[in-house]
């Protein structure tokens, strides 16, 4: 935002600074994408454009399997985390203990990923042993292996990781919502569920969908928790990291990184553009509503 008395050059310098920072941050990503389309790979003097590396990646059974596994995990995380985030945000709006609730909800963000992952690993192992012991004591075989490392444990780890983000994203959108509208709907005869579906949800939909997209991206980007809670060759990012650590960067690795980056940037870009357009539209409405009401 410019004011009438600011220097033209100062304004340009601010933009130059901003673009430099963004450029510096994104340059390695674009470079990786650039390399991923070179038939001769990294370090070659000659650049020959090709989609071959992508074909190799998409033809690799293990890679495609890990991609599928990640998609299933992401969908399961969305299906559980987004409703939980929505419920938490609604609870937050009602509770009088807002600071306590925010602290509790955001607490998982302050624990490093590998520490959280290993803590959960130990916890699940003990939990598993406890249930097995109880099962043996009461003769209930079905109580064994509930928390064997697998899809469920990875899912729980991902939920703990993504819930704070989903909560915050939904809460931001929800902060614009006026609870009087729910009361107005109830006064018109709507049940609590009808009021939520027909009046509240349409107004917070953008936040809920943003949270869903964000959770998908986080699921694709996450490596340490799933590696500890499921295994190093199950999710796409774990396969990529394992491959880089074991055999170094190949054209295939660049293509995998390219896929991840393109998908993530497209999703984030789409969310940002949609959010900006929506924010602008809401601001315009708010400005119109805030104009002094004069006699007609």
């Amino acid at each position: 935002m410019r004011d009438d008395f600011s220097s033209e050059w100062g304004y340009r310098a601010k933009w130059a600074y901003l673009l430099t920072i963004v450029g510096a941050l994104l340059a390695p990503v674009f470079y990786v994408i650039y390399i991923s389309f070179n038939e001769l790979g990294f370090g070659a003097r000659v650049y020959k454009f090709t989609f071959d590396w992508y074909r190799v990646v998409l033809g690799d059974t293990m890679l495609v399997g890990s991609l599928k596994w990640t998609v299933y995990l992401a969908l399961a995380v969305v299906a559980t985390t987004v409703p939980m985030g929505l419920f938490s945000a609604k609870l937050y709006k009602r509770t009088r203990h807002k600071v306590l609730m925010v602290t509790l909800m955001l607490a998982p963000l302050f624990v490093p990923a590998d520490i959280m992952g290993s803590a959960l690993l130990v916890y699940f192992k003990h939990l598993n042993r406890t249930f097995e012991t109880i099962g043996e004591a009461i003769g209930a075989d079905w109580m064994t292996a509930w928390f064997e490392l697998g899809f469920l444990t990875a899912l729980i780890g991902q939920i703990i990781y993504t819930l704070p983000y989903a909560f915050v994203v939904i809460l931001i959108t929800m902060s614009r919502y006026r609870p009087q509208q729910t009361e107005a709907a109830r006064a018109c005869g709507a049940t609590a569920w009808q009021a939520f579906c027909q009046v509240e949800f349409p107004q917070i939909r953008a936040g809920v969908f943003s949270a869903a997209a964000f959770v998908v991206i986080l699921s694709f980007n996450e490596a340490p928790r799933t590696a500890l809670l499921k295994g190093g060759f199950d999710t796409f990012s774990n396969v990529l990291v394992s491959q880089m650590l074991n055999v170094g960067m190949s054209g295939e690795s660049y293509a995998m990184a390219g896929i991840m980056s393109i998908v993530a940037m497209t999703a984030v870009g789409a969310i940002l553009i949609y959010t900006m357009i929506r924010t602008e539209r809401l601001d315009r409405r708010a400005r119109a509503a805030a104009e002094p009401v004069m006699s007609t």
Partner: protein, 369 residues
């Protein structure tokens, strides 16, 4: 819509209604009843419990004690959507993602009425509130007054027996508020249902109310017709809150049938008892409206029905139609005398001059609490 009833029936009854938020009592044992088809106003200072009372009637909050009866049925445990009430909120209550038609038709769609019927009812209601032709507009394209009309239409179209209005005019400018006030009254007369209107604005309350209940500190202070509440307030609080009243404290020194003599320390004032339980020796207050007091030359004599007391003139404040004259009594308390502005009489007295103030005995009101 229900036709206005010929014999009065009770639409709303509050029985010992209380609401606590933790240790804070928002409403304390309030009881009253409202006749069907009346325009009832809950008037009082902010934070006094008016909106809490309205929300209890509407089913938006559950009472901590007592009961709400609508048309004789106990609805205390029913949520808002199951009560025969609808509500107009102060602001922000239109659904921003729906057009005017969408907003007004919302409740009818919930009832699954045929589309044609919904369209015709919505059209008729928009016509009633003066918004014909605005159906396709979105709420943000309307002025504040128009938005409140849409809220009104959305509530009235449901054809419920009781309409609750929570400070519906508070966000409008003075001129629009006055216009909407009259319009609300006319609409209420036309549809004949019970309106319960919350406001802290006395002028608004006086303009529209059949009956007014004064609510303060979580209690029902007093209830009566607009004229009674203004002219004959029973409680000292009502006298202080409604209009511009002058209060003089004193002790009853004599009781001569229907009239008491009150010693204020600087004058003895006669005041009609009007059924008050005040007895000799009791501390009381006397209120006299500023427009009922006359400013006289010093030494004017009291008569049987005219009370006269000496005062020092302080200043005049010109307010356009009226001028406020401030005088000080011998005990230091100040009295406001409001008269129609007149260049000659406004300049008659000067600051520091001794004057007399007088009022007809019947215009004073006695308060014991």
């Amino acid at each position: 819509m229900n036709a206005p009833s010929t014999s009065p029936t009770i639409a709303v009854e509050a029985v010992d209604l209380s609401k606590n938020y933790g240790s804070v009592a928002a409403l304390r044992s309030v009881s009253f009843s409202i006749e069907s088809g009346k325009y009832f106003v809950l008037l009082g200072p902010s934070g006094g419990g008016k909106t809490t009372l309205l929300r209890l009637i509407g089913g938006f909050i559950r009472p901590s004690g007592g009961r709400v009866l609508l048309h004789g049925h106990d609805v205390s445990d029913l949520p808002a959507n199951l009560r025969p009430t609808s509500m107009v909120f102060q602001s922000y209550a239109l659904f921003p993602h729906m057009s005017v038609v969408g907003n007004v038709a919302y409740g009818l769609k919930l009832r699954k009425l045929p589309k044609d019927e919904i369209a015709s009812k919505v059209e008729g209601m928009l016509d009633l509130v003066g918004l014909a032709g605005y159906g396709m507009r979105m709420p943000h394209e309307l002025s504040g007054g128009q938005q409140q009309r849409v809220q009104l239409a959305r509530s009235l179209v449901l054809e419920r027996d009781i309409l609750l209005l929570d400070e519906p005019l508070a966000s409008l400018d003075a001129k629009l508020r006055k216009d909407m006030c009259l319009e609300l009254k006319h609409i209420q007369e036309k549809v004949g249902i019970t309106f319960i209107h919350v406001t802290h604005n006395q002028e608004e309350a006086m303009a529209i109310a059949d009956r007014i209940a004064i609510i303060a500190n979580g209690r029902l202070v007093e209830e009566g017709s607009a004229r009674d509440v203004y002219e004959r307030p029973v409680k000292r609080f009502t006298a202080e809150f409604v209009g511009e009243n002058n209060l003089i404290d004193g002790r009853v020194v004599a009781d001569a049938g229907g009239r008491l003599k009150v010693d204020t320390g600087f004058a003895a004032i006669a005041v009609d008892k009007r059924g008050s339980a005040a007895a000799v020796g009791e501390t009381v207050s006397i209120s006299v409206r500023s427009e009922r007091i006359h400013l006289l030359d010093p030494g004017a004599a009291a008569k049987d029905d005219i009370q006269v007391i000496p005062a020092d003139y302080v200043e005049a404040v010109y307010l356009g139609l009226t001028t406020s004259h401030l005088v000080r009594l011998a005990n230091g308390s100040e009295i406001i005398v409001r008269r129609l502005s007149n260049t000659e009489s406004d300049a008659k007295f000067v600051s520091g001059q001794t004057v007399s103030i007088s009022w007809r005995t019947e215009n004073a009101q006695l308060h014991i609490d």
